[in-house]
Assembly symmetry: C2
DNA sequence: TCTAAATGTAAAGTTTATTTTACATTTGAT
DNA sequence: ATCAAATGTAAAATAAACTTTACATTTAGA
């Protein structure tokens, strides 16, 4: 799975710390997500979707193997 | 978070076992998801979305506390 | 009613998400 | 060039996802 978090965050002028606080996770979690270190939960995806006002599918995309 | 998996599954005439196989998890995982025993990963949400041809937001919804 | 399929549930185990702390590197502004 | 903010990263700890096995209950059809 890939994601556009970095772009959306830039769009909204938010730091990783800002975003972390906004959705209630640690800054390291945001960093790891952006670097595709792990797959976040659906609750996080929905919270990001709500915050950025974009469908989950626009923020996260399945890849070939998935 | 809540979800409509049971309804979508009925729409598609699939058993929990069918759905489990279709998206590559155990039947117990599907059962637990439907009964809100845990929050699935975003990869699973996207796979369910793809299978049922419905946006993630239509399958999963944040609740008051989230 | 009998039976099989489907669903519910539970415990133990494995893997992965997420946190905390801590530090190193990069970037941007002065 | 310097300083602070932002980002990258890492290790250890905890929480939660997910699996496997196994069995009990419900449901629908013959």
């Amino acid at each position: 799975m890939t994601n556009n978090l970095k772009v959306e965050r830039a769009r909204h002028n938010m730091t990783q710390a800002d975003l972390a606080e906004a959705i209630g996770v640690s800054r390291q979690s945001i960093n790891a997500m952006e670097k595709n270190k792990y797959v976040p939960s659906t609750v996080l995806a929905l919270k990001l979707s709500r915050l950025f006002k974009k469908p989950v599918e626009e923020l996260f995309q399945l890849e070939a193997g998935d």
